[in-house]
Symmetry: C2
Subunit: 294 residues, 2 copies
């Protein structure tokens, strides 16, 4: 089975767990449950749960055991997208080919839905995790995830991203931004699966290096697509960084330079896996990253 | 020692733990750490951690063991205040006598600071909890807290509160709103301490009844103060509910009726404690609730 078929299969299993967890009988309080389905059941590659599941499988934990916990990563991903899209942040019109949540519903509901995603993610990990894994390992995952999302990670990265004093050609600054805003969450996702599966600490280190490079390559590719792709292809606003003169990999390195940077990060990601078990899928996934069209 | 002295002492210990956890050397990313200190180290009665600590002490756990975990409840409280104050929600000017966070900083930073509070709360509970309590009990606390804050609790209550179709004289609806938005969080706070201290399930039930009534009395008193107090006394915007004709206990029951309702809720709260150990503090706290001036 080639990588694309594998990804489609995994996505479909993840989507059906999300659908199950978010089903409801009663639209009360009005529209919030609908809003929660709207954003998360709306396409998406599901890369973060896929990373968690893959790491778990490398250390002998079955996919079906990880899926109910790993979908929490998609709630978190939706939390970041919905809040980043708000008028006071990126003021985005489109997300995954549909109106951003605050445009389809309203700003208050979008703020609250984002909050609800983040909040329910921790509940799901605690509740579904304790049924399937050691309580200590579940707590470690929660602790690490909270770190990865906090002011030294994703949320701090968004603060930096919005900082008007940021210098468009500060390469070190842009790399740090991507590490905080994007790579740290990929890292926590891959580590989630490995920690629950009790991977040894030295192997966790290698997975961490892989995920940091993977995340960097992912974000560089995002910057490239923001420059080279269309709204129709991506399903979200494009050219926004250039429009507001916001620094990104393309502004810092040119398009060609950014492509080289992405390829180098992918090479480093694959090198980091040397000595680990069953790494085929992770290697192919890293290659796929920089070829993707959306 | 009378209740007020006890409350002052507890508040000071809680504040010093918050100060310790939020200390920083480096203002990076710019202003977010400052924003996090601004809202949470800014007065506040600290009722939720006090409830957690009190329940823990009832079942033999020392205060000092609970404080590092219980401060997470103040992060959550700040999360709800900061997001509720946003322009798209209550558009508040003042909070605890100072400009609301989005006015002192900006809206994006206020949204992200609220997110960071919620996120770090779960991290603190996991990290500090596992050092002091059984991992299973810490996970149960996280699970319950997530439920209490979610669409069936605090966040859902805020959705209802903003719902323009809400009927100002629908008594059942207003009580349900208060239970979701306010009481469920008091309830989760008291249960946090009791669960970590391994209180028996039937006693947990009684504490739950107490906290639900306590929360209701608290919110009715808030509604009364919103009507009868001044900006200077409360340190936050007043009269907002009346101004936008939003339903609350005073609009539904009149001032006198609301006072009776609050007293009845306090009486039911105290009755719920019959048969539990060391309930003096909780009883006094319930009485204090409806006498408070802010």
């Amino acid at each position: 089975m080639d990588l694309k078929e594998q990804l489609v299969g995994l996505k479909s299993e993840i989507d059906s767990e999300l659908d199950k967890q978010l089903r409801y009988d009663n639209d009360f309080p009005p529209r919030i449950r609908e809003a929660l389905r709207y954003s998360v059941l709306n396409g998406g590659k599901r890369l973060r749960p896929i990373l968690a599941i893959t790491a778990g499988e490398m250390y002998g934990v079955e996919k079906s055991k990880l899926i109910p916990v790993a979908v929490a990563l998609e709630y978190i991903q939706s939390f970041t997208l919905v809040h980043d899209d708000l008028p006071c942040m990126d003021d985005a019109l489109l997300r995954r080919g549909k109106p951003a949540l605050h445009r389809e519903f309203n700003e208050a509901l979008a703020t609250l839905a984002g909050d609800a995603y983040l909040n329910m993610a921790y509940g799901v990990i605690a509740r579904e995790g304790v049924k399937r894994f050691s309580a200590e390992s579940v707590l470690r995952v929660i602790d690490e995830l909270s770190d990865a999302l906090g002011v030294d990670g994703v949320l701090g990265g968004q603060v930096l991203d919005l900082d008007p004093s940021r210098n468009a050609s500060d390469l070190e600054g842009i790399t740090r931004l991507h590490q905080m805003k994007t790579a740290s969450f990929f890292c926590a996702s891959l580590r989630m699966g490995a920690i629950l599966a009790k991977a040894p600490d030295n192997e966790l280190e290698k997975l961490t290096s892989y995920a940091m490079e993977f995340g960097l390559a992912f974000q560089i590719t995002d910057d490239i697509l923001d420059e080279t792709s269309t709204v129709e292809e991506l399903g979200k606003d494009v050219g926004h960084d250039a429009e507001i003169k916001r620094a990104n990999y393309v502004s810092a390195y040119t398009l060609k330079g950014a492509r080289t940077q992405a390829q180098q990060a992918v090479d480093r990601a694959k090198d980091a896996l040397i000595g680990l078990p069953k790494t085929d899928f992770l290697k192919k996934l890293a290659d796929y990253l920089i070829e993707r069209r959306k």
